[in-house]
Symmetry: C2
Subunit: 336 residues, 2 copies
DNA sequence: GTGAAAGCGCTAACAC
DNA sequence: GTGTTAGCGCTTTCAC
């Protein structure tokens, strides 16, 4: 087995207390002894056992990160930032993937608690209006466990940080209206998903403020064949002059079809979307879209989490971070 | 503080040993007692303290994942798969980001060891021919610590799993040669990086087998202005008829410039690259590129890791996983 | 079947 | 300054 603090004590002809003191940089040890112990530890390749240390201190030095789906590239930057900040405060991060399964999510949270994570950052799996059973979140709240819910509106009364979806959608839409568009289609309708619902609501709000109504053709990108549906729509003589996609990926997927149709972009069709995926700026034309302010979401998240870890009582806070609208060249005035 | 096994023992009027036995599903406890204890634990919301358990068992149930750069989207799928498999075996994953800094990498590995991770998966930061100081890897080897190095050729004699870069590069190149290309440019030269060097070597091998030589114009995509350099090259009358990019991102970044030049693709210029980024198939025309077989890399990695955890001795194994070449429509015969 | 007690490796009073 | 000792919460022999 690995060398322990006892071994060191024996070798150095001293006590475990002294060893502990020098290793954790506490004062009250003679310089000579301290020096000798440091060197000894170095020589024998002593590696402190954090498990034992954590048990003794009743701390874990661990922050748990529970992701709804680990394979979502949108998380990546967030992870990195969280990781860095947390690390700088002396914490490690234990990661768990809920694989879009609420039961796994429950399990993951339980596991985190067993490992005595000192704080939790959760991207919940669900965000439905018809909120299912989410007792695990209620438990967390009742027990005042430090946790912040990220990216979902259903915060169950816990601390939460989300990006606003509504205002940026409205901005995007107003932009189209100002260019002269009157016939705007929306691709991607799943109103049971709150995030999508908010985006759609923002679009409709801007439209109705201008006395217009949304053209929802029930093209839902989760279903196969939706690109063909969109193609059919765009072939009609009364086709829309602009389309709002629920996210960049949809715009990307539709792009080859648009070219096949011989549409000149953006002259013949204006397009806007959400999420600012990496490739969006390289599309031809570059796509006008919205971007989450990840650095701010991260900052708020950590701020809230650490504050809560200090003070488990106190009312839940809820942050909504504004999204940025990035205007590129995928829109133009309609020529009709 | 949370309720402990002692509290349960007291409440149930029994001993900690018995509680421990039923909670860890061991036999040798009366059915009635067992039942009662289970219910009690449930009622009071007992959460086992894994820290204490791990200390007693001298296990950590933790696998460490040390990433060179956590914000690389290419990792994402790998992470997910690793996570899932590891979880299924009853392990948690502790994650660390080296932020492309060798010193942080050293630190991360040290931390993992302090936390008594039972196995390590490392994406090393460096992979240079002029290998710098990598003592931390040597230590791991000397101490027979279970670790597998992923994605880098510099494996320091440790277990390793990498994707082959050479053969797929040759395949890509042969494909261009067979189409009739004789003048092929290579974008992205940094021979000190082993992965890039291998790709370039593969290209050159295929070329020289056909009696051709590579056109390296020293366009290195890390430097600003490289797209303009490429543009200059493509404006020359003796411009190449095909280009091999070191990765998809380069192809993507160059794309708008190609359109501006009025090149018809792929008729006027054939293009191939590496990495099969998500958007590559949606480019117009869809990009011919190579893809790592992530599922196989993952499988090999876990196989090797768990084998090593069982048997710390035994010679290091080294797997090279073949890459897949995905032919799409970004190439054509040159019309000259 | 069940309980007492000795650790696991480390920390932190409390003595000296 | 330095050592002694009693835990931290759990597991596991070893008796009974």
């Amino acid at each position: 087995m690995a060398v322990t603090i006892h071994d060191l004590a024996r070798m150095a002809g001293t006590s475990t207390a002294t060893i502990s003191r020098v290793l954790s940089g506490k004062r009250g040890v003679g310089a000579a002894k301290r020096e000798a112990i440091m060197r000894l530890a170095q020589e024998v390749g002593y590696t402190p056992n954090r498990i034992a240390q954590n048990l003794a201190l009743n701390k874990s030095h661990v922050i748990g990160l529970v992701a709804a789906a680990l394979d979502n590239p949108a998380y990546v930057d967030f992870f990195r930032r969280i990781h860095r900040a947390v690390h700088d405060k002396g914490y490690r991060v234990l990661i768990a993937d809920s694989e879009l399964d609420a039961e796994k999510e429950r399990q993951n949270i339980a596991t985190m608690r067993e490992h005595r994570a000192e704080g939790l950052i959760v991207f919940p799996v669900h965000d439905w209006r018809a909120a299912g059973k989410a007792e695990h979140f209620l438990h967390l709240r009742v027990q005042k466990f430090p946790v912040v819910i990220v990216g979902r509106l259903d915060d169950h009364g816990l601390d939460a940080v989300t990006s606003e979806q509504d205002e940026c959608a409205a901005t995007l839409t107003r932009h189209l209206i100002e260019l002269g568009h009157r016939d705007i289609a929306f691709v991607g309708s799943d109103p049971s998903n709150r995030c999508i619902a908010e985006r759609q609501a923002g679009v409709e709000r801007a439209l109705s403020a201008a006395g217009l109504t949304l053209r929802t053709e029930n093209i839902v990108p989760d279903q196969p064949g939706w690109v063909e549906q969109l193609e059919t729509l765009l072939r009609r003589p009364d086709r829309p002059t602009a389309v709002v996609y629920i996210n960049d990926v949809c715009a990307l997927m539709a792009h080859p079809m648009l070219l096949r149709l011989g549409l000149r972009l953006p002259a013949d069709l204006s397009q806007v979307a959400f999420d600012d995926s990496i490739w969006s700026r390289y599309l031809t034309p570059p796509l006008t879209t919205t971007a989450e302010r990840i650095e701010e979401v991260t900052a708020r998240t950590l701020e809230v989490l650490f504050a809560r870890m200090e003070d488990p009582d106190g009312p839940a806070v809820r942050h909504r971070v504004a999204q940025e609208v990035i205007f590129r060249n995928s829109t133009a005035a309609p020529h009709r």
